[in-house]
């Protein structure tokens, strides 16, 4: 528990505010840069010095979602007038849209693998954390240390054994394989974080529920889970962010069916080398789910990140 002795004076508050705003601006510049680039034309995107004011275009987004082929004058004439606004954008560059790109699929893969592994991690993590917190588990301390030790090296250090393992088990380039992998990597974090949260919930609540005629599982489900919601939400965000952004394993272990968005985005090839607006558009859209997820859970997140400091 902390006590603030005096209210900070207005000048201090202003200074603190300025520092925070300044820091926020600095950290947000790359983000704004990416979002802006997504709406630039290819020329503007590589202009030097960089252009800050430019005429926005959706060309990057059209290129992101479509495959296009270069068309001759004759082909263009035969195809007739453009049917839609995105046809029109493609035509302006002398190309015709030949079909949707693979970005949609890759994005969906990211969603399945990211949210799938997060869900699995929460289920296993909560169960394990509850057991560690409440029961007399033999070798509890050793087990907890062992779980933590899986995070003592960068996960990618074991990339080669995992690659071989996946190949032999037929998990290469599968959704389930990636879900299992990300769950395994995140589980130590989630067990430790969740154990902290569950330790903070007085055991009397469950005992009261047991006395009130509920089974152990009902007590866990109806009493402990609602109490642990904050912890579960903030842990879930950490797990999702890791799984969502993971690049190295995704490059190594996925290529076709289960490829996630991170290894795909840099490979978006434009007509003349890298199509930076399309890459930026891909990155921008990629940011959205984590942002939405975080915003939805932010009430819990704030309480969760400062846990230990505020409760009791």
């Amino acid at each position: 528990m902390s006590f603030s002795v005096t209210e900070p004076n207005p000048a201090t508050k202003w200074l603190a505010g300025l520092l925070v705003v300044g820091y926020a601006v600095i950290t947000l510049i790359p983000l704004l840069w990416i979002i802006a680039t997504g709406f630039k034309s290819p020329t503007d995107s590589i202009a030097y010095p960089p252009v800050v004011l430019f005429e926005p275009t959706l060309e990057g987004y059209v290129n992101l979602f479509t495959d296009r082929t270069r068309a001759t004058e004759q082909m263009l004439a035969e195809a007739g007038p453009p049917q839609t606004w995105y046809d029109e954008i493609a035509r302006a560059r002398g190309t015709v849209i030949s079909g949707p790109s693979r970005y949609g699929e890759r994005f969906l893969n990211s969603v399945i693998i990211g949210f799938g592994s997060t869900a699995l991690c929460m289920i296993l993590g909560t169960a394990a954390a509850y057991a560690f917190s409440r029961f007399r588990v033999p070798l509890k301390d050793d087990l907890l240390f062992f779980i933590l030790s899986t995070r003592m090296m960068p996960p990618i250090a074991v990339a080669i054994p995992i690659f071989l393992m996946f190949r032999n088990l037929g998990l290469n380039d599968t959704h389930i394989g990636m879900i299992l992998l990300y769950t395994a990597v995140n589980l130590s974090l989630s067990v430790w974080l969740l154990k902290g949260f569950i330790d903070e919930i007085p055991v009397e609540y469950e005992e009261a529920a047991l006395i009130d005629g509920y089974t152990r599982f009902q007590a866990f489900y109806k009493v402990v889970l609602p109490q642990a919601a904050t912890g579960i939400a903030s842990t879930a965000i950490f797990c999702l962010i890791f799984a969502w952004n993971e690049y190295a394993f995704a490059v190594l272990l996925t290529s076709g069916t289960a490829q996630t968005a991170p290894p795909f985005i840099p490979n978006i090839i434009g007509v003349n080398g890298k199509d930076w607006p399309a890459v930026a558009a891909g990155a921008t859209i990629f940011l959205v789910p984590v942002m939405v997820f975080t915003v939805l859970l932010r009430k819990h997140l704030l309480r969760g990140i400062t846990f230990g400091a505020v409760r009791k």
Partner: protein, 365 residues
Amino acid sequence: MAQIRIENLRKDFGAFNAVKSSTFTIEDGEFFMLLGPSGCGKTTTLRMMAGLELPTSGLIYIDGEEVGQKPASQRDIAFVFQMFALYPHLNVGKNIAYPLISQGMPRREVKQKVGEIAEILGITDILNRPVGGLSGGDRQRVALGRAIVRDPKAFFMDEPLGALDAEFREHMAEELRALHDRMNATTVYVTHDQLEAMQMGDKIVVMNHGVVEQFGVPQDIYDWPATKFVAEFIGSPPMNFLDFHGMVGTGETRVSLGDAALDIPAQREGRSGELTFGVKPEHIRLADNATYRGRIAATEYLGTTQIVTVETAHGSLKARVAASQRVTVGDHTGLHFDARTITIFDATTGRALRSEANEGVLTHG
């Protein structure tokens, strides 16, 4: 409502022996106190009765049925926790309704029942409030409501007043006792506060180091402690001990402490060696003509009475005398002990020797 009996109950936590072979019976409708210092095993005993801990060995009967290894949910008992353990995500009404919902009672009946209970406890106006902002007393009432709503076989309470302000505790203690008398429910109540135990209990078990030291009605436990531990734990100030080396024979009515011969109840049990002469502060008079003497070391004024500390050849003792009696620190005074109230202890085992006066109490306990 039910009789509860425990037989040879034992609980080990690893190498630590929390409860050693306890046996006692709680009669139907009794307000029963488990009293002892912290770590004495009283809470463990209660939790075993409730099914929150499983006994290492021994039997627990509730209403004639052996329930020692049954889970709490199947014992049909209610438990009031020290910290109340109200479900923080539910409001007052839902907290009280929770045990009924587990039984699958129809919603309308639940509502009616919760209403009745709220009426009894005087908390009708806060039924829709979250439990977070409630005062200690209201939390206590909600916890009680949750306990009584289901008409369980017995109520178990683990220091339920411990978290309340001293001022309010008195009031809640009365309320609790009144509630018990109204419901006439078997209640087992754990406390470390001897006054609370005396004030509310029909019967008291005094525990220490996992062992039942004494079992009986409050008056007997107060007047005739079975061990030095009980004598020291009960009463404020507690019984005085004057240690002496000597002997008492069976049938003896006097003991010698130094030069003084002091009257005691006729002994039914003799012993020689290290002995302790036990006398309650209120059974000591300062009388100049008495043969046993001491020097007045201090006095505490308490309004109607005063506590006088007297140094004697066998240790210091505290006497409770009328506040009007004039006492001067440093003076020498004679001490007169009320012979009928004396207990002689075997100083090595701490056990009280049986006499004409305490025999009835010690044999049935």
